[in-house]
Structures are given as structure tokens and as C-alpha cells.
Symmetry: C2
Subunit: 502 residues, 2 copies
Amino acid sequence: MDAHTREIIRVDRLATGGKGESMEAGKINKNVVDHCTASEYVPELLPQGVRKDLKPLNVLQPEGPSFKVQDNLLEWQNWRFRVSFNPREGAVLHDVRYGDRSVMYRLSFSEMTVPYSDARYPLVRKQAFDFGDGGAGTCANNLALGCDCLGVIKYFDAIVTDPEGKPEPAPNVICLHEQDEGIAWKHTNWRTGRAVVTRNRVLVVQFIITLANYEYIFAYKLDTMGGITVETRATGIVSVVSIDAGKTSDYGTVVSSGALAQNHQHIFAIHLDPAIDGHNNTVVIEDSLPVPMNKDTNPRGNYYEVKKTPVTTSSWHDADITKNRVVKIINPSKTNRISQRPIGYKFTPMPTQLLLADPESLQAQRALFAQHHIWVTKHKDGELYAAGRYTLQSTREHGGVADMVARKDDVENGDPVIWSIFGLTHNPRVEDWPVMPVEIHELKIRPCDFFEENPGIDLPSKRNETSVLVNNGGGQECCGTNGTNGVNGHTNGTNGHINHLG
Amino acid sequence: MDAHTREIIRVDRLATGGKGESMEAGKINKNVVDHCTASEYVPELLPQGVRKDLKPLNVLQPEGPSFKVQDNLLEWQNWRFRVSFNPREGAVLHDVRYGDRSVMYRLSFSEMTVPYSDARYPLVRKQAFDFGDGGAGTCANNLALGCDCLGVIKYFDAIVTDPEGKPEPAPNVICLHEQDEGIAWKHTNWRTGRAVVTRNRVLVVQFIITLANYEYIFAYKLDTMGGITVETRATGIVSVVSIDAGKTSDYGTVVSSGALAQNHQHIFAIHLDPAIDGHNNTVVIEDSLPVPMNKDTNPRGNYYEVKKTPVTTSSWHDADITKNRVVKIINPSKTNRISQRPIGYKFTPMPTQLLLADPESLQAQRALFAQHHIWVTKHKDGELYAAGRYTLQSTREHGGVADMVARKDDVENGDPVIWSIFGLTHNPRVEDWPVMPVEIHELKIRPCDFFEENPGIDLPSKRNETSVLVNNGGGQECCGTNGTNGVNGHTNGTNGHINHLG
């Protein structure tokens, strides 16, 4: 269709053939849906109904939440930051501080592209840019109490723009709540049997978007040990095309009679604009490298080298599991009193596959950002979009990270911005139908010599009073004096690392 | 010391020097501890005390747990399996079934080695085998209610052997509980605004070991969508040696005055003995590979190939993120009715660094298993230990996976066993002191065409009744009719994947 004249120019009919057939096979097959079967996910429509044996699990916070909210200012467990919401990126964190020290100037989900692998025309054009095309904020869900998170929830509303550009209220597009994340740290002194256990608590800032068939759940999780985790969950309904009865295809998986779920990738871009005790930061690539046995530095061959390389010029870098590659953001002018190293934060570039499309293909040219794991650029106001501002119907990535890097800016001890690229190569399985179980990715940003000890060392270790023993036998009272939560102490004197010292 | 005569043969004194000094620097430095400072983690000894602003978060299960336990037989959400406990491996899962279909014959934590990187004698010998030397079961904690997990807990007791070989009761060494793991799947029909959200529940079988300074938390997590996640958490106190005042070292990080935490690795081995609808299984390596643009099969360059290679002979394989390498365990004789592919389960080999020590080093020879991510061997009764049965003071891995693989057994459509190797290269940070925040690894084993739809499609989607709104403003009632948990619908017609079809 000509978008201006609204005139239909051509109708492309889809092929419905299978393995070994020509790419045209099955075009204009008017009966292709005849062998399709219903696939329901709405509870009252499920033939087998809903399972009855999952008993309620409730999260109660009798004294209320541990967080404080004033407008868009959030305070929780030494963290202090502002949250905003916009039609393009959804929820964004600003001026993230721990105590009175700054950690992040801005943290956001920048872009995601979903290229499909079907080689048949016009399906070769199937590639979504969910942020640039759809608008994460515009497609955000209005969240509902007790549906999307448990416990004590705070919702934030936003204003989005409607198709005429008029402002429109969007209630409950962000939810805020606390979550227990299991043991934070534990140690049992085997000499005394005294155990100290603490639990990790996280503050979750979450929003969920629906882009037609797919759902994405995005969350920032701040924890009680100085860490920030950026989480993506992909769910919803996989995109399918018709396939003739009884056929299979190299382009994907038949997930239901007549429904071919095509192979595809989801490639995410996270935008990190750090401020580690200020903006004079340097990005360092830290590799752990083997050292051949040699009598001077490695006589027994057990030594390995930790090599640190500062990023001086805007550039891209890739994950490397063989080197245990870590990206550190340091403040070269601030030294940790204990380690005598620069203070910083770090993360491991997500070790996932990058874009598979041929570098010369339209898919690849539109998503240059998706071809490396890490892009380091110099902060420039308004540069927020990994694939550029305008992605809809684009023929090449314009003003995205590739163009930013091409400026060859000096980023050492300057004001660097880091783009973390990761994703999911999704060759569907039957279990992804009719609605797909969440596929979770977590980017874990952690302090590294930023503090002078474990910032969670003061977490309360008192036992949870509401936990109970199951009443069907076993599990006798276990909180006596002798060896409470202790170790089968007799053996530890002859076990473990200490005894491996000599 | 001569272990037989108990006679002291030699005293090796430790060097305490730093960067740029000889490996002998600082030996017999009697005053090295004078500049050490106290590092407390026990609540009542903390100078700053325990934080007061973390409010209680309770997990309540008013109708009790959803699981049934009879002796060591566990039943929960279509899962059915037995759990055992032994001094070497700790908790082991047996005969894991979903409904009446078998998935795993045996699943266990097999071994872990912790080689240290300090090149100075005698520290070059520092390498623990926590299962083979220490005994995971022998060093298991006696768990305490409300300390190690929340909600309704079932404990299991075990019998271990004392140093004289006599049986000794070990109470509460395994805990069993349910956990909420957030959204399982969600879809909002943008045409109607109707949202269906379900929550993922997991059954956690957990045990915790203390090996002198270190703690490890091991868990098997079975979920409501047919998945099994094997989780390791490393915590406890990092192993340190003395260092002279004011010095730093290439061998590690000064985490406290006078305390040098040496660089090291933790390399885990998980033992998977699958039984996908029986024992006639085949292991398949599945890679997603780029295909150069070409007019016959890839005219626009967006197509990629999914290449499946069955493992015919016992062998090792490595993770490869550039290929999105996935390990599938299929039953070649059973075909999924929908996809017309063999039924199976899959996992992504953990993309982490392998052993760094020189291949000729003692460290490497003792831990041949730690040099590849995946080992496929043929089932043989009693072959349970990745590094062999006897690791203590070993000079080479004997009877471990390397020897098993050397047999070149035929493993296609036979009874394969898979060993998943992963780990953590741990160059300590100051935040790891005095007790280290958990470092978490998760091996996610998922059904792949094993079922005919998402096995969690029948999860209840009714809202949690006990979740409440925070009372400080905002978050107005959000459960009305219009667009309840819906999408800002107006834009979706012009967004998202559907519209990327043409």
C-alpha cells in the first residue's frame, strides 16, 4: 500500500510449502487454514481446565514496604534514584546513587530488534524494532494488583501520546515492589558451629509491553549488596505463518497444526550512562589469561594473568568466555583505601549469539548495533537509541551506535556511555505454544572495589518468624543450641581449602 | 608431615611480599599480622550494628505446600522423583518423571575444583576438590527453620560416616520448599484488552555445605513448565594469605589490611544421566549458523541454518556462543505428533571460562574434567565422579571423564551420560570481604518438543488476593473493567511484529 495515497499496489501471497519444496510452493493455497486447530490459553476456554493442585503462596509485608516514594524519587536500602517514563523507552532510571555517591547518571532499555529467518519473499522483510517502531512506552500494559507482582505494590502512571499526538493518561504502567531473592551470604564457623545467614532483598522497577503477539517484561532490580540487575523476560505468542498439512520446514517449527513458528532472534540493547563517583570515568576491559609454565613467573603452571586494558577511543568490543572478559567502569581519580585500586563497577558482557544475518543484508544494515556485544561511546545529549532515532522502514542504521563509534571520540577519563547488547536465538519448540514460557536474561552490574567491604554485611540475620515446618512428619525442631544450623563439624578440621594450603 | 609416622618433615614459610618483588620476598616475616585489622560479620560484633530499615517480607502458604512427601518420594505439579543423600555428593535426584514419563534417571552434583593462581611455593599446591576431598554430604549444614528458606519447609535427615567410619545422624541436611519465580507467561489480547498472567512456581531441593572457609548452596529447582534448573551459589569467606603492610600483588586483591585474597577459579561438574521416555537416548549438538547470501537458499541474507549433529562416540564438546550451541537429549524412537521431530530435553552449555592452568601443570592434570564444557560418556554403573573417585593428593585425574571418554564407546541411541562443566573465575573484589555475596550459576534444562504444548498453559491466572497497594498515594484501584491489565490498545494495531509481515 502507498501510505500517502492509501492505494493498494500489490498483494503478496505467502508460500505455505515445506522442506525440499521451492520457495514459491503453496502460494495462493486458499485451503491452508482448513487443517488448523484451535489453540486456547484463556482459562475458561482450556479443554482440560486449570490445574487445581497449586496452593496459594502469599507474600505479606505486615509493616509495609521498605521503600519511600516521593513523586518520582525512590529511596530504599541506601539507594536513591528517580524513575521516569517515556513513550519510546518505557521506564528509565536517573541519577542512581548509593548513599551520597553517584553510580549511574541514566540507565535504560534502548532498543530491541527481532529479525526472522524465513528466506521466502515477502517474509524476508520480517524484522521488528520494538522500541523504535512500536514504542515500548506506548505499548506498555496497565498493570493489575496481584497479577504481575506479589506483596506491597506501588504503581506509577504516565502520559503517552495517542495517534493524533494528543496526550493520553496511561495508568499503572510501572510497578514497584520488593522481592526476596534467597540467601545473600552465609557462613558457618566450623569451630563453633555458629551460622550467620542473611537474605538478599531486591527492589524491582518493572514494566511490561505487548507488541501485538509478543510480551516483554522489563525490570531493573536493585539489591541490598550494591548490585543492579537489568532483567528481560520474553513471553507472549510466537509469530507464525501457515504451512500445508503434514509438512515441516527448515524455516522453523510446526507448533500447531498448520502453524509454522519461524526461527528468529531477539537482540536487546541496554544503555548505561555511568557516573561512578562523578562523570570522569574510564571503561576497562579486564581479561583473565593463561600463562605458559616458565621458571621465572609460573614455575608450576598454576598462575594466570589478569590483564586490564583501558578503552581510550570510542569502539566496540565482544564478549569472550575464553578470557573471562569483564567490563569495568572505574573512576581513575578515586582509589579504594583497602585494595589501592580505582573504585568501580563491573559486568560480564552477556555471552549470547549476535545477529546471524549476512552483514550485507538489509536486516544487518538496519541493526548494526546487533553485531557486537559492547559499544563504548562518548556521552552526547540526546544519543539514547542504539539503532538510531528512526527505525521504521529504515534501510540502514542511522545515528546509532555504529555512527557514534565512528566519531573516534576520546573516552578515557571522560564521560563514557556503554551499550550492552545481548539476545536470544529463538528456534521455537512446541512448548512455546500457545503462549511461550518466559525466556529470562539478566545483566548483572556489580560494585568492584567501590566499597570498603561487602555493603550487605549489615543485613539482618534473624530468622523469619513465619516460616513453618510441613506437618506431614519429618523435619523435627531444628533450632536447639547444639549445632543449630551448624556443620557436621567433626570432619571440617580435615577438609576444605584451608587444608589445601600445604 | 608424614601422614603415617606423623613426623614433621619440613616447615614451608609463606612469602608475604608484593608486586615487583621476588617470589621469596617476606618469608619468615614474624610481624606480618601486626597490621591486620579485625573483620567481623557476626551481627553483635559489627561496629555499625545491623541495618534497621529492612521490613519483614513473609511467605505464607495458608493451605500448606503443594507437594506430597512419602519417605524419599516427592510429588509436585506432575513431577515425581526420589531424593537421596550421600556423604560424597549430598542430595541426588533419582527417577525424575513428569506424569508417567521418565525424564532423568539420576541428577547430581559430581565435583568441583578450586585451583588458586598464586605462583609462590607452596601456594602452587592450593587446589581443592570439594566433593572428592571434602565430601559434600559430609560437610552439609544442619539447616534451620526460617534461616535458609521461607514458607512451608520440609527437612530431610541423613546418615553420614564419622572419621572412624561409624554412622552418625545428620539432621536437616536437605530442605524442600516452594518458591514464586515471577511471571511464568503472559499475553494481553490487544483487540479485547483481556490479559492472562500466570506465575511460575518452583520446587526447591536444597543443601548447603561448608568447606572450612567457603559455603556452597546447591539446589535443584523443578518448575511448573517442565523445566529443571540446577543452581549453585558460592558464598562464605574467600581464602586469604598474609601480605606486608602497604603492598599489593599480582596474585590477588588486598581485601583487608594484611589479607591478600588470591585469584582462583571454581569449576563445577554436574552429572546428568537422562532417560527421555526411556534410556534409548541420543545427544545432539545443535548449532545456529550464518548462511552467506545466495540466490538459491538465502536471496536476502536473513536466513540462518540450524545444524544438528548427533554424538555417536563418547567425546567432549565445548560451549560456543557464536553458534548458539545447544545440547539436546532426544529419544530418536519417539516423535512429537505436532512438530514431527524426536521428543527431547535441551540445555545451553554454560558459557563460562574453563581451567586456566597450563595443561602440563599438576592442577590441570588433576582436573582434566575442567578443560571442556561437555563430556558425553556411556552409562556405566558406579561412574559418578567427574574427576575420578580418589582426588585427595592425586597427581592425575584417574577414572574421571577423560578416561571414560577415552573408551570411545558408542553412545548413539544408547544410554548416554552428560557432564556439564562450568564455573567462575574469581578475581576477588573488596566487596567479597569479610563474607562474599552469593555468586549464582544456573544450568537450565528445558523440554524441547517433549510435550505437545506449553505444559504450564493450565496454570491458574487468578490474581493473588493478599497483594496490596502501598498506602502512600499513587496506584489508584486498577482492576476496573475497561482495559484492566490491558494495553494502551490504540497503537497496537499499527505496531509490533504482525505489521512487520509485509
